[in-house]
């Protein structure tokens, strides 16, 4: 029998029965029914599975759940506060920074990691930070604008 693991996701403690080698992505999607993080390649190349682990972006498809330990996991589902969208989510809407939307949760989580480290990034910094995330529909320029817009929003909010 697979062991029981405790995992903190979006502020809640979950007890799951899972092989420690099972990917965090599979645990989120299968065990917790949190399907915002997506499978895109299974080798950490596309970024669709990006979540925050202890505040830093990781590719959940190549992160064994056994390596997570007590560190908190944040997924796209945990980003909004009730009905109030996070500034990044709002900025993606405002810039229409999506087409099929499959990459969007991973993009937003990767951008969140960037903005937490660099609250006012330059355009080039945004591009480099998101280089590991693929948008096959080609909405890259809009995503860059959305992240910059969110950074502006976040800065204003912080100044008040």
């Amino acid at each position: 029998m697979a062991p029981i693991l405790e995992i903190h996701v979006n502020g809640r403690l979950h007890r799951i029965q899972a092989d420690p080698a099972k990917s965090l992505l599979a645990v989120l999607r299968e065990d917790l029914d949190l399907t915002g993080a997506k499978y895109g390649c299974g080798e950490g190349q596309c970024g669709a599975c990006t979540v925050l682990l202890d505040g830093r972006a990781v590719r959940s498809c190549i992160t064994p759940v056994g390596s997570v330990g007590a560190r908190p996991v944040l997924t796209i589902e945990g980003l909004a506060s009730g009905d109030a969208l996070h500034p990044l989510q709002q900025a993606f809407l405002d810039e229409n920074a999506m087409q099929c939307g499959y990459c969007t949760p991973g993009m937003i989580m990767a951008a969140l990691d960037l903005l937490q480290r660099a609250p006012a990034p330059a355009e080039d910094e945004v591009r480099r930070a998101l280089q590991g995330n693929i948008c096959r529909c080609g909405t890259y320029p809009r995503i860059v604008r959305a992240v910059l817009r969110a950074a502006g929003t976040a800065t204003e909010a912080g100044n008040e």
């Binding site: 950490g44 980003l79 809407l93 229409n96 087409q99």
Partner: protein, 761 residues
């Protein structure tokens, strides 16, 4: 970006290392085994309806009757759009006319206005990222004068929407958009008539409809649009010639509208087919042969079947497993002991062009072909300069970020499949054939899908999931791995174009002889004026499964043509823009060419060492596009960088300007990959680069500054825009590389390994 060798790996691997640091325990489900597409007994082995844009009309079509449609909604106003007399040329060409006529109820779309004022629209189109859900919402909102938020679109559910051939060919906006406009306009007229009757107003013109209410200003009376039917169900059937609001008077359409499902997407709430689950659901996996054409010689399933909860299915050449979770399914798959007989030699990506030439049909010496005119040899004799050149294009993959996925559920002998496809009714037909049941017992539902680009026309994943579900007696979800998606889907065809041409010293084209081998006939005709022309498409034996792709062969045909035009301009010492304009009469194409050149500053560009500019234009599916590119070539390293792109696009009246811009930018960026690096490598029946670490698609830092110029022709009907903006990218870049470095590149991709040497190895 610094690397020249352009394999996808380095950039992304850095990124992964930076953020991850996790080891390689992953859930790829890699089992190393691969196959030609599954051949389930009874399944017709041709799953490529878009091969060369030909399609076979279904023999039978089971469609909901009007009565069944009407039974699914409550009181209110219903408008059915009958398309019997509204068949477009496209539908006739695509072989749809026969089938539609044979159908008892040729309804294209319908809408319902409930007593609560909610508007529900039913259409067989599907949303795959092109945002047709939003622009169709906008079209209805416009005609009906209701807020877009009061409109719901039911899309791609074969039990609830009228038959539709599929979402492809840039036909949703010109055809479905128009049908829905007509339905909404008819509903609007009905509502005004109802209000006029109720308030005893003689002249309907005294009434107005705004923000979901009918208003009679003279008396101060008003009513919500849902209140007017008084519990009745009023059904109206209209033909497809209802007068429409002219584009010049649009207020909602023609203005930007945010993606209607955007909030569900940014919160992760939207469920793609690959996210769906049902109680008791199992996870499916399919055993793939080690190479294309390999046959199963023997199979031992005992070890797999010994794993608790595992169901193993063998049905002819189909072998698959279903298990309670992904890991167990992968374990079961790995436990299958299969022996395969591989087939004889198979062309590789290195010799595929000789293979295509050798197996091509049609010698090209006939007078056939679209737009054939004059006498080629006489035209060549009259030329001052003659040019013969060959161009090639590699197979490329769609790489939709959501791989193919299906969730299948049997309830008795009724099958329901949720799957991402561009052809819900086509997939329903495939399922009905595969399981030898009537189409009325199959329901296909398409949740808004994680992109397709022409790559999701077929139903193999749906069939596989349904086969496993049938054996397991429980719902089964099957999501292809990235490797499966790269290997067992289908590709944009590889091809060769041979061109012979002649031009006079004054820049007049005298001869144009154009032959496409295997890649297809889309946009094969030259838009340039030339007295002696021949255009021939030669089908050939493709070693890989091939099919539809955004803009089909238009991208390669346009690449060959526009590169060749550039070569001719150089031969006669003319500016590429002036040379094109001299041979071009089509006013719409001239307009985009001039608009792009103007915005780009074509005539004002200052030469600079290692830099060059190029342009290209083209017309396809009612859209007109022109692209200008500036590149920098570093001679020592061979590195090519695209510095900026200006693209002008015109597709008639613009419905959603921001949505259109998004499509044009997206097509252009997708086009960068096929232009510069993308190529499927294969050998001995195996795909050699079936991973994102081995196949380079455009990423953030690959995208140069892009300036899109949209020409809004409110006097012209709206055409689709998801495809044509991709067709001028590659030749514009290739021509710019020639301008910068003097090296003429005639193969797609242009610089998979950088610009190593003249002749582009």
């Amino acid at each position: 970006m610094s690397e020249v060798n352009g394999r996808a790996g380095s950039v992304a691997t850095d990124a992964a290392a930076r953020i991850g640091g996790a080891d390689s325990a992953n859930e790829r489900g890699s089992h190393g085994a691969v196959a030609t597409h599954v051949i389930v007994p009874g399944v017709v082995d041709t799953l490529e309806p878009d091969r060369h844009e030909l399609r076979e009309a279904p023999r039978y079509r089971f469609s909901l009757s009007r009565r069944q449609f009407l039974g699914t909604v409550g009181a209110g106003v219903v408008v059915l759009v009958v398309v019997r007399d509204g068949l477009s040329l496209d539908e006739q060409e695509f072989g749809e006319a026969e089938a539609l006529r044979a159908s008892a109820d040729p309804i294209g779309a319908w809408l319902h206005i409930g007593e609560d004022g909610a508007v529900t629209v039913f259409t067989g189109k599907v949303e795959v990222g092109q945002d047709i859900r939003t622009s169709l919402t906008q079209a209805v909102a416009e005609e009906l004068d209701v807020p877009p938020s009061s409109i719901t679109l039911i899309m791609g559910d074969t039990d609830r929407v009228p038959y539709d051939a599929g979402t492809f060919g840039s036909r949703s906006t010109p055809q479905m958009g128009t049908q829905l406009r007509r339905a909404a306009a008819a509903a609007r007229a009905t509502l005004l008539r109802l209000a006029a009757d109720r308030w005893e107003v003689d002249d309907v013109a005294q009434l107005e409809l705004a923000a979901g209410r009918v208003i009679h200003r003279a008396s101060g009376r008003s009513a919500g649009i849902g209140e007017l039917t008084g519990g009745r169900k009023l059904v109206e059937t209209i033909a497809a010639d209802q007068p429409l609001e002219p584009a010049t008077r649009w207020t909602v359409a023609g203005t930007p509208l945010r993606k209607v499902k955007g909030p569900d997407i940014v919160t992760g709430r939207h469920r793609y087919a690959s996210d769906m689950r049902l109680p008791g659901m199992l996870v499916g996996k399919v055993l793939r042969p080690p190479s294309f054409g390999a046959r199963l010689a023997s199979l031992d399933t005992s070890a797999a079947e010994a794993i608790p909860g595992v169901v193993v299915v063998r049905d002819g050449e189909f072998v698959g497993v279903a298990a309670p979770d992904e890991a167990t399914a992968n374990r079961a798959l790995a436990a299958l002991r299969a022996e395969w007989e591989t087939t004889a030699s198979h062309p590789s990506h290195r010799n595929v062009f000789e293979h295509l030439r050798r197996t091509a049909s049609g010698s090209g010496n006939g007078r056939g072909g679209p737009g054939a005119r004059g006498d080629i040899e006489a035209g060549l004799a009259a030329a001052d300069e003659r040019l013969e050149a060959s161009y090639t294009a590699a197979y490329i993959a769609h790489v939709p970020l959501e791989p193919r996925a299906a969730l299948a559920q049997w309830e008795g002998d009724k099958l329901t499949v949720w799957t991402g496809t561009q052809r819900p009714f086509g997939v329903r037909a495939e399922l009905a054939r595969a399981f030898r049941i009537g189409e009325e017992r199959v329901r296909v539902i398409v949740p808004d899908t994680g992109s397709a680009y022409g790559g999701k026309h077929t139903g193999e994943t749906a069939i596989e999931a349904a086969r496993l579900a049938k054996a397991a007696g429980r719902p089964v979800r099957l999501v292809w791995t990235r490797e499966e998606e790269f290997t067992w889907a289908y590709f944009r065809p590889a091809g060769i174009v041979d061109i012979r041409s002649g031009v006079r010293r004054d820049g007049t084209l005298t001869a144009w002889d154009f032959h496409n081998y295997n890649s297809g006939a889309a946009a094969i005709r030259t838009p340039y004026e030339v007295a002696n022309a021949r255009t021939v498409f030669h089908p050939a034996d493709s070693p890989l499964r091939q099919g539809s792709y955004r803009a089909l062969a238009a991208t390669f045909n346009n690449f060959a043509r526009e590169t060749h035009m550039d070569e001719l301009a150089a031969r006669v010492g003319m500016d590429p823009l002036a040379f094109r304009l001299q041979n071009l009469r089509d006013a719409r194409l001239r307009a985009v060419l001039e608009a792009a050149a103007e915005r780009f500053g074509w005539g004002r560009w200052q030469p600079s060492p290692g830099r060059g500019i190029g342009l290209a234009c083209g017309v396809e599916k009612g859209g007109y596009v022109a692209t200008c590119a500036e590149v920098a070539v570093e001679r020592s390293s061979g590195q090519v960088r695209v510095l900026r792109i200006v693209q002008a696009f015109e597709c008639g009246a613009i419905v959603n300007p921001d949505g259109l811009r998004n499509q044009v930018e997206g097509a252009l960026i997708m086009g960068l990959g096929g232009a510069l690096w993308e190529a499927i490598e294969f050998e001995d029946g195996r795909i050699l680069n079936p991973r994102l670490s081995q196949y380079r698609v455009p990423r953030f830092t690959d995208v140069p500054p892009i300036d899109v110029v949209l020409l809004d022709r409110k006097d012209l009907p709206s055409a689709g825009a998801g495809e044509t903006p991709i067709i001028a990218v590659a030749p514009a870049i290739g021509n710019a590389i020639f301008h910068a470095a003097g090296v003429r590149l005639r193969s797609l991709p242009l610089v998979p390994y950088g610009l190593r040497a003249p002749g582009n190895p």
